[in-house]
Amino acid sequence: MIRPALTLARRELVRFFRQPHRVVGSLAQPLLIWAFLGAGFSPSFRAPGLANVSYAEYFYPGMLLMLMLFAGIFSTITLIEDRAQGLMQGVLASPAPRMAIVLGKVAGGMAIAMLQAAPLLLAAPFLAIPLTFSGLIWILIGFAIACLGFTALGFLIAWNMESTAGFHAIMSVFLMPLWMLSGALFPMDHAPGWLWALMTVNPVTHALTLIRTPLYHPASEFLATTAYWNALLIAATWAGLCLWLALWRVNRVEQGKTMP
């Protein structure tokens, strides 16, 4: 199980770095959106209770979360073609357990996301964010959970797709809104009731909490709050559930219907 999963994870990494447009695309888009929205909104962004926070700073953890989302999407969208006309055919016909496909994808996607997001954490001091070492560790845990959730969710969607066009549709009407309604773009406290409700049930909101909180507070402080543990529990359950569903789905072999 481990050897097949590792080899598939390594393949993800090698492929990623061998396609420069992918490196640029998945890194540049969040950065550009961050730069443009940050510059455009910062002068007029005055969220109640966040008087000292510029929009660029507010959006920073959201941008990191977007990186996780893109890493998940880009690594799973390739599955669709790969399964019909690519390496994955050989994997499916090999004696390697099918679970290795999910684990390889998830591990590869996580590694790619971490490698992109980690350097961006260097921006924190320039935004005057008081990031501590213990905070950094907990942010990385938040990254891992978010990335696991997005990659497993992307896997689940891609595995049931016949064409990449279908995946793009789901991406714009489902995956992007999950991110938009996570508090990445605007604080949820003063959102209209219906929006607030949507954002509260959105597990990605809680994944964002796992990234935002450790930026501002030392671990000893937020680990003593139930709010943080609630977020951790919900986000981890979401990620775990997606992973479990992906494993279950990939293990299901198409079964012929009873003969008439």
């Binding site: 050897r3 097949p4 492929r15 396609q19 016909a93 090999s94 012929g256 003969m259």
Partner: protein, 323 residues
């Protein structure tokens, strides 16, 4: 190999498969009551029109789908109950390349070795062994996307042989190759069969390929019409065949069906006549219908003729188009 050579490489018993269908599509039976035995070391070619069930049978053999009914044993291992044991001795070449084109040939091989748990020293040895018979020699470090179609196929073949399968499944492996590449690929397969005793099961639309096989099976609408050696299959048609191409074949067909002891078939703009005294019939046709006839020939029945006789269609046409 210590296994009993008497055990068939592939034993299929009463295999049936039905696709569930969708909202607008009714369920569709793709395979129905297939019985097939392929002895170890045989070169077996499966042929049939598009939509005949070849791909479904192939998918089931690869373990990508579970059949509705029936059993499959590969070297005595139940493919459905213990798929991993059955798969360990099987190598699959898909119609669409199963190589990652962004990776080098060697990187693709290494992934295969990891999936099949091949120890490192054996892996290196087997890659070295494959170099003399393939043309990959200098290209192992190059990305697959830079290889020609024929070379990529060779890479694929070397890859699936790395775990030394006893049974090789190939789904129309020569599609997209030029005639030279196709011949070379077939020669390699035959060499593998002879030297290593590998059982080969391949699907093909090309009769020149099927003629080289030990066994040929013809599938149509989910049923096996015939399975035998090419020579015996061709002999089934027995007599020589008169083939006529031209205009207004219907009139000629009508005139011929009135004669006793003739089997007349009109399809795909060709009139095929089997029976006695074909020379005399040729003379009659030339006398009465000279202006309608473009070509007129007597030929020995080939596998293709049997195929057309059995399936009632030429290969280039889809099932749907002929209805």
């Amino acid at each position: 190999m210590t296994a009993d050579p008497q055990i068939p490489a592939v034993a299929i018993h009463r295999l049936g498969h039905c696709y569930p269908g969708g909202r607008k599509q009714p369920p569709r039976v793709a395979l129905n009551g297939i019985d097939l035995l392929i002895p170890q070391g045989a070169f077996f070619v499966l042929t049939g029109p598009n939509g005949s069930g070849k791909s479904t049978l192939f998918r089931i053999l690869c373990g990508l789908a579970r059949p509705s009914t029936g059993t499959i044993h590969l070297h005595g291992h139940d493919l459905i109950a213990t798929p991993n044991a059955a798969r360990a001795s099987m190598g699959v070449v898909f119609q669409k390349p199963a190589l990652d084109k962004h990776l080098t040939v060697m990187e693709n091989f290494r992934i295969h070795a990891d999936l099949h748990a091949i120890p490192g020293h054996l892996f290196a040895q087997r890659v070295r062994d494959a170099l003399p018979w393939s043309d990959l020699g200098e290209r192992l470090g190059e990305r697959v996307e830079t290889l020609s179609g024929g070379l990529a196929r060779q890479a694929e073949l070397v890859k699936v042989l790395l775990h030394e399968p006893r049974l090789l499944l190939l789904d129309e492996p020569t599609v997209g190759l030029d005639p030279g590449g196709r011949l070379a690929f077939m020669a390699t397969l035959q060499r593998l069969q002879k030297k290593r005793g590998v059982t080969i099961l391949m699907t093909s639309h090309i009769f020149a390929e099927a003629e080289k096989a030990d066994l040929v099976a013809i599938l149509r609408q989910g049923q096996l019409l015939a399975a035998d050696s090419p020579a015996r299959l061709s002999a089934r048609l027995g007599q020589e065949l008169l083939v006529i191409q031209g205009e207004d074949l219907q009139t000629m067909a009508k005139a011929l069906t009135d004669l006793p002891g003739l089997a007349v078939q009109l399809q795909n703009h060709e009139l095929r006549v089997r029976g006695e005294n074909l020379l005399q019939i040729m003379a009659t046709l030339l006398k009465d219908h000279r202006e309608r006839i473009h070509t007129l020939a007597i030929k020995q029945p080939s596998l293709e003729d049997l195929y057309i006789h059995l399936t009632g269609r030429a290969l280039t046409l889809d099932e749907e188009e002929c209805r």
